[in-house]
Amino acid sequence: MAAAGYFGRALIADVGDGSATELPLPDELLRAYLGGAGLGAWLMHRLAPPGVDPLAPEAPLAFVFSPLVGTPLTTSAKFAVVAKSPLTGFLNDALASSHFAISGKLTGNDAIVVRGACATPSVLLVDGDGVRLIDAADLSGRPAAEAEQRLRERLGRGWRVAAIGPAGEQGVRYATISHDGRHAGRGGLGAVLGAKRLKAVAVRAATKVASADPQAVLAAARDLRARSFGPATAKYRELGTLANLLAFNAISTLPTRNFQAATFAGAPRLAAEDLSKLRSVTRNSCASCTIGCEHIYSARGGKQMRVEYENVFALGPMCGVSDPDAVLAASGRCDELGMDTISAGGTIAWAMECVDRGLIDAPWLRFGDAAALLRAVDEIGARQGLGELLAEGSRRAAEHVGGGSAAFAPQVKGMELPGYEPRTMQALALGLAVNARGADHNRSGAYEADLSGNHDRLEGGEPHVAAAIESEDRAAVMDSLILCKFLRGVFSEPFGEWAALLAAVTGWDTDGAELRQTARRIVLAKRVFNIREGWLPADDWLPERLLTESLQVASGRVATLTPERLRGMIDGYYAARGLDGQGRPAGRVLADLQLS
């Protein structure tokens, strides 16, 4: 009997032969890895053949749920999609919120793992009757949202669908998996599903899940709900994440023209403060969420779309485009194609700079050209023309183009950088360099420390190391429980408060100290997986541009992140994590991971 909040098993569906097996997940393991990204890391250790090609049939892809899914706790309807990334070649977990999380867990599984590959385009169905495949030929080439709608019409009420768009079918290495209009966005997991010739996975609830102390869970849910209406989430409620844009521009943290600058003259045209007045249509919430961060804008032609900071940063300032209609259109087109906007924008921006430098012969692709941006997005989604190259992501594309273009490819471990300038946020710089997923702000949100006022964000050093570790640990727990990061500001003593939530659901006597240890375990398990897959110390590094070109902030100070400073912070990180000088764990650290 599994602990409350869990089923104690993962379903493994082989879509090559249509079979299904069950992998028992003992309590001890679940307590060690919780769920979501943590449990997903353990599953990949267990199920991914060493050295596997992420797009090969034998590569597993897991939908991983968590103990909090199905409870009334706000923002808990989340799940992680975990696989070896075709973009980075390392472990990748992409989180999303939707009813898929609830229905998927209530199939009676803590995870649904897919491996094998279908002979023809198919949809995997999972419910109380087990697994089966249906034909998806009519869905090929359709946007994920359309495929989702058609499937739900075909399958009937109760089914929830996670689908890929054309980019996933085309093997774009940063294709997404989407559902309810949300995306498991980063790292190209849509391409993994596409390589299995799966257009979608559909789930239907078949059972219920109990909490150990329902009254305590209900009380906690009421409390969290009330707190979620407070000042900690005001930014998300009132303007959404796009509120970052103008603020970041003011403090020189808005990456512009492929990180050639950190401020963008066109930023006011894209700012939430004005756009929301002109174009805001409505707000929306993810399943089981009381924050309501989604801001739906209207674009030219009457289309409506979610607008997030990262979309606008990547397709706007990063590409030098200030036309809001073009940026919204490009963002909407990425949604339709099922592509990660950060990687799409980053790769296009890199290509624009290559054109400037005469390294790519595509004179139509220039910084600031809105039509070129839209054309590039479409070509990537179809893998046509220049899109064939750009669909590979900036790291692989730079390896192909050469000419020194790797120095300004905006990526770490192959994943394109998010919209936070590392030279003016140097705790974040460390976090981006060392994180297992690559350059991602959701697995290492050390920008919080840079904006805390507790240290000089332009002079990375020891305090930045501690801050980056704390941020990474918090993310590891939040991504495994799973709770939305936009809720983080409501917690005063996060590890203790999260432990109390977990204890109410599971009945375990978990405390904050245990969760801190759990966080370290999850972070290191991801690192160990990467080491197994060929990670080298040089992979924990930043693009050369960020270490050789300085930026001046508004005060006149110059922000410089030297290789020596980054090296010092990385060494400090390794030491604090109990790793050797090459970033590898050993001995007691390894034993705690329960991977053997």
């Binding site: 000042p231 900690a232 989430t233 005001a234 930014k235 998300y236 409620r237 009132e238 303007l239 994440t241 509120a243 970052n244 103008l246 603020a247 970041f248 003011a250 403090i251 020189s252 939430a272 403060e273 004005d274 997030e308 900071y309 990262e310 940063f313 998010p418 919209g419 936070y420 702000h441 949100g445 920008y447 919080e448 840079d450 904006l451 805390s452 006022g453 000089d456 964000r457 332009l458 990061k485 936009f486 983080r488 500001g489 902030v553 508004a554 005060s555 100070r557």
Partner: protein, 280 residues
């Protein structure tokens, strides 16, 4: 470029003021807090406060160092010797001032430090009719010279200047710096206060003119920059109808982030108020 530090001499007796000058109220903060904060914005290295043994000082940021002046009542060269010795291993030059200069401007500190950075042992302003040895830049290698002069009983700064290379900055030289000329045209930076009447007159002046801007959910109906008067970040926040704290932060001149409301402001500063949570 040399590593620069700041030294604030706070150990004077304040006998004419009748109350410790370091603790005098200044727009919700204190004179010493203001002086330390202004110097911190320019000095890349440590800021040290030289105090008398047992002297109680107002609250200061945690990264400020303190050194006890071992010989009380010996004048500024003694304080200078103690301060320079305390930071000699960590900085090459230091801006040295007393605690009673409420209008000290970062642009003035920057200009004076530049004289030492360019090679002088001392960058000595001559402003408002007098040499200003307590608003000057000193090379930290002067510490043993100052110490010897104290032992010899030669307690006036002029004795120190006789033994080193001094770049004198008259008002024309100071105003040749366009930033300083624009932000402190009357060189009020060197105005010090010694008596209650001085303090009252200084305190009655309007606070510095600064620009504020609110971003995101904090902007409400107040988008775009707005000119206000405020001597501290807390004062600017109050003018914006905000309170710094867990969810609201300030960025000073697009540079450092702070939640410390006592962070001093000077004419020409800009303060951006942002949501603390920058999740995207």
């Amino acid at each position: 470029m040399s590593t620069s530090a700041g030294i604030v001499l706070a150990g004077g007796r304040s006998s004419r003021m009748g109350t410790p000058k370091a603790a005098l109220e200044w727009h919700g903060s204190t004179l010493l807090r203001r002086t330390v904060g202004i110097i911190s914005r320019v000095a890349g290295g440590p800021v040290v406060v030289v105090r008398a043994r047992g002297q109680i000082l107002p609250a200061l940021p945690a990264d400020v160092d303190f050194v006890d002046d071992p010989r009380e009542g010996m004048g500024p060269v003694q304080g200078l010797a103690a301060g320079l010795a305390a930071i000699a291993a960590r900085a090459e030059i230091a801006f040295v001032c007393s605690t009673d200069m409420p209008f000290l401007h970062p642009a003035f500190v920057r200009r004076v430090l530049r004289a030492a950075d360019e090679g002088a042992d001392v960058g000595l302003p001559i402003a408002r009719g007098y040499p200003q040895p307590l608003a000057a830049a000193y090379r930290t290698t002067l510490a043993p010279v100052a110490e010897r002069l104290v032992k010899e009983g030669r307690l006036r700064p002029a004795f120190l200047f006789d033994e080193c290379m001094v770049t004198r900055l008259d008002e024309a030289a100071l105003r040749a710096d366009p930033v300083l000329a624009a932000l402190d045209p009357d060189l009020d930076s060197v105005v010090n206060i010694n008596e209650p009447a001085d303090y009252a007159a200084a305190r009655s002046r309007p606070a510095p003119e600064v620009t504020i801007q609110r971003f995101g959910a904090l902007a409400d109906a107040h988008r775009g920059p707005q000119a206000i008067r405020a001597a501290t970040v807390a004062g600017a926040a109050a003018a914006a109808g905000l309170a710094l704290g867990r969810h609201v932060i300030a960025a000073l001149n697009g540079d450092q982030i702070t939640r410390d409301g006592e962070t001093p402001l000077a004419t020409g500063d800009s303060v951006s108020f942002l949501s603390a949570d920058a999740g995207g």
